[in-house]
Amino acid sequence: MDDLKRKKILENIVFLIIIFFIFLAAYGVNLSIQRQGSHMLKVNTLPKDASVEVNGIYDSHNIYLQPGTYTIKAQKEGFLSNESVIEIKESDLDISLHLVPESKEALSWAEKNKTLFSEQYNEIYDIDPILPQLPFKNFIFSMHVKPGTESRIPLTIYIDTFKGYQNSPINKIRAMGFDPTAYKYKFNIESPF
């Protein structure tokens, strides 16, 4: 009798284990089908609890994406949202999206988290990659951005030059690898038109 009971209990345990492994295998197969060919994108936001959107759809901070081009946007009430266009190729990717505080509450939060924030806040200046290349000066023209306006969009570039050479700074921006169409300009020479 005892033997029979023990056998039944053992049989039930084996049955449950089989069921458990079937579910586990199904979960694994499902996951591998879903994530086949995809790579993980880790979005680090500041503040950490900012929400993340991928191509306009809310998502988590760790996202599995198929290779392709995506627009990642981070936003939080009181902060200016920040977005970045990324390309997922053949490996996982980490990106950082930092939000500039705008409202009173957000500014006081930034003040309280100064150590963490001020360190990373400087990275905001990296939003526009042309900034490290400015100011620029040579014999015929100079280009600069007014201090304190580095994080403003659009970025306004001030140009001082001579008549006949006004296109040179624009060509220089193009030679630096940027499309000059994307910036605003203030020339020291009035347009005749």
Partner: protein, 206 residues
């Protein structure tokens, strides 16, 4: 009892298999590719550069998340593919390609007289101080970019050049961007960025 357990396991396996298949089908998005006035279009998977389908009219596809490109098979259009990303939802994609340089030049021949007339009427004395470069159509038959190059008394002096853009609406050409050293996208929000960018690339008269 043992038989019931085996049947139970089989039922679970079948249910899970159906669930996996259903999940896979559910992960495919319905993508409608709208095609008009073009000989044919090739759909390419950007991931592995594989040609998926060539078609000549609007079609629906079941596509996995990822990036895809469309390539025009028509001499009137540029070779540059138009790419789009499918992510978590169905979408409609309009296969819209830019005209090729040679086709735009053909179209410009028909428009040249009205464009020249507009330049003359807007700036009657322009040729006193500027050389008017033969510009070109940009993107399609509705955008024209041109350049005025400042004349100098001394030919060895450097010249400033000013870019401008005309737009054709309801058959009438109109100046939409006044001549400027650089046409910034922030000053001309109604003009497509690529049109501004192309116009800004125009330099001295060739």
């Amino acid at each position: 009892m043992r038989k019931i357990k085996i049947i139970f396991i089989i039922v679970i396996v079948v249910i899970l298999a159906v669930f996996i298949v259903f999940n896979y089908i559910n992960s495919l998005r319905n993508v409608k590719i709208v095609v008009s006035d073009i000989k044919s279009v090739i759909l390419i998977s950007k991931n592995d550069s594989k040609e998926l389908k060539q078609f000549s009219s609007t079609k629906n596809f079941s596509l996995k998340d990822g990036s895809y490109c469309l390539k025009a098979v028509d001499n009137r259009f540029k070779d540059t593919p138009v790419c789009f990303t499918v992510y978590k939802e169905d979408k409609d994609v309009v296969a819209s390609f830019n005209y090729s340089k040679s086709y735009l030049n053909d179209l410009l021949k028909k428009e040249r007289s009205s464009i020249d007339a507009l330049i003359k009427s807007t700036y009657p004395n322009i040729t006193d101080n500027y050389k008017v470069c033969p510009g070109s159509l940009i993107k399609d038959e509705s955008w024209y970019g041109g350049v005025f190059v400042q004349k100098n008394n001394n030919p060895s002096d450097n010249s400033d050049y000013y870019h401008f853009i005309f737009n054709k609406k309801d058959g009438i050409w109109k100046m939409v961007a006044k001549p400027s050293i650089i046409l910034s996208s922030y000053n001309f929000k109604d003009i497509p960025f690529e049109v501004l960018s192309e116009a800004n690339k125009m330099t001295l008269c060739i």
